[in-house]
Symmetry: C2
Subunit: 203 residues, 2 copies
């Protein structure tokens, strides 16, 4: 039943919820304001009150995914020791990827609207990257002599490794390579060990 | 125009070509033998002469992607020095991912048919992994004393890092983080340096 008196605020939220359903069920290429309106049982024009176009709605959905993701990283257990903090951050990243496959795919596996047109979209994405970068800076400060490596570069290295770990874990390919259960069970721990060794190395 | 006399071998090949088009245009969830037949202008029953069901056709498409990928890795310039060989292998992996996004997504980003039901599907995937593993074994043999780390685990570590690098490079997110052009230009080189340092570390 279509609600007779859906408030303006409700419609704004309902559009986001419906957009997520469309993306999950049919893929991001099927997202349109017309389809959102159809599924909500409102007029074709109604969503335009809140979103200038389809990309504006998608940018809002993506911004919320990044907000949720960055909040999850911020909520991790904190450690004084930056190496332990980085390990905790890696765990938080991997658990988010595992438990929120749709949001994860939206952030990192989906063509995004133009970030310059939608400047709010990536605000929390940049915050998430800054969390990682700050941790890298603190690790670099433990070294004597101080390291000259760009913390941005090391943050990209860590992101690539942890993202790759999460992605491979989600592939069907991993379990078809004839690897032993022991190797599969040790994968995450081993990646963590190699990651720390890499960051500690003088290059 | 539908060909009057399409040979049996042609139809087998045409099904693969058409399956790839469907996956590229509409996503793997839209692949069906019925849709392949419709687009080829043949009877609904015709594809069943070559493929028992939709998964059998998808397994054939995936097997060919792995074959193509492994051949590309095998065709790399060879180096006696296993560190140089690993660097070359990483380049080959990344260039394949860049130039063959559909095959890459099929191998590593798509739900695959049951590998036990389709034992040929992953043969070349296992071969590709063996190429990497052999290179790791040769690197380990350069160490004194010999290392006790499982080459499978180090191969998984390298795969995660290179796969993550390739995936991040393909995201729209990477270019919206406010990173300098210099950092983005150094990303690949830096990952290579950290990778080698990680493998050389005693853990």
């Amino acid at each position: 039943m279509v609600q007779a008196a859906r408030s303006s605020r409700d419609l704004r939220e309902d559009c986001v919820t419906e957009a997520l359903s469309i993306i999950e069920e049919r893929g991001v290429e099927h997202l349109s304001l017309r389809e959102v309106a159809r599924r909500l049982g409102v007029s074709h024009q109604a969503p335009y009150k809140h979103y200038a176009n389809r990309d504006a709605l998608l940018a809002e959905v993506v911004a919320r995914a990044y907000h949720d993701f960055a909040s999850h990283l911020d909520a991790r257990t904190r450690h004084e020791d930056p190496h332990r903090d980085l390990a905790e951050l890696g765990q938080a990243y991997l658990s988010y990827a595992r438990n929120n496959p749709l949001a994860y795919r939206l952030m990192f596996g989906t063509p995004l609207p133009d970030a310059e047109q939608h400047p709010g979209m990536m605000r929390e994405g940049r915050h998430a990257f800054a969390i990682l970068r700050d941790c890298i800076v603190r690790i670099q400060q433990t070294k004597t002599p101080a390291r000259a490596v760009s913390p941005d570069l090391d943050a990209l290295f860590v992101w690539a490794l942890v993202h790759g770990k999460a992605s491979i874990q989600q592939t069907d390919a991993l379990n078809t390579l004839g690897l032993s259960d022991e190797v599969l069970a040790d994968f995450e721990h081993h990646v963590g060990q190699r990651l720390m060794a890499a960051l500690d190395a003088q290059i």
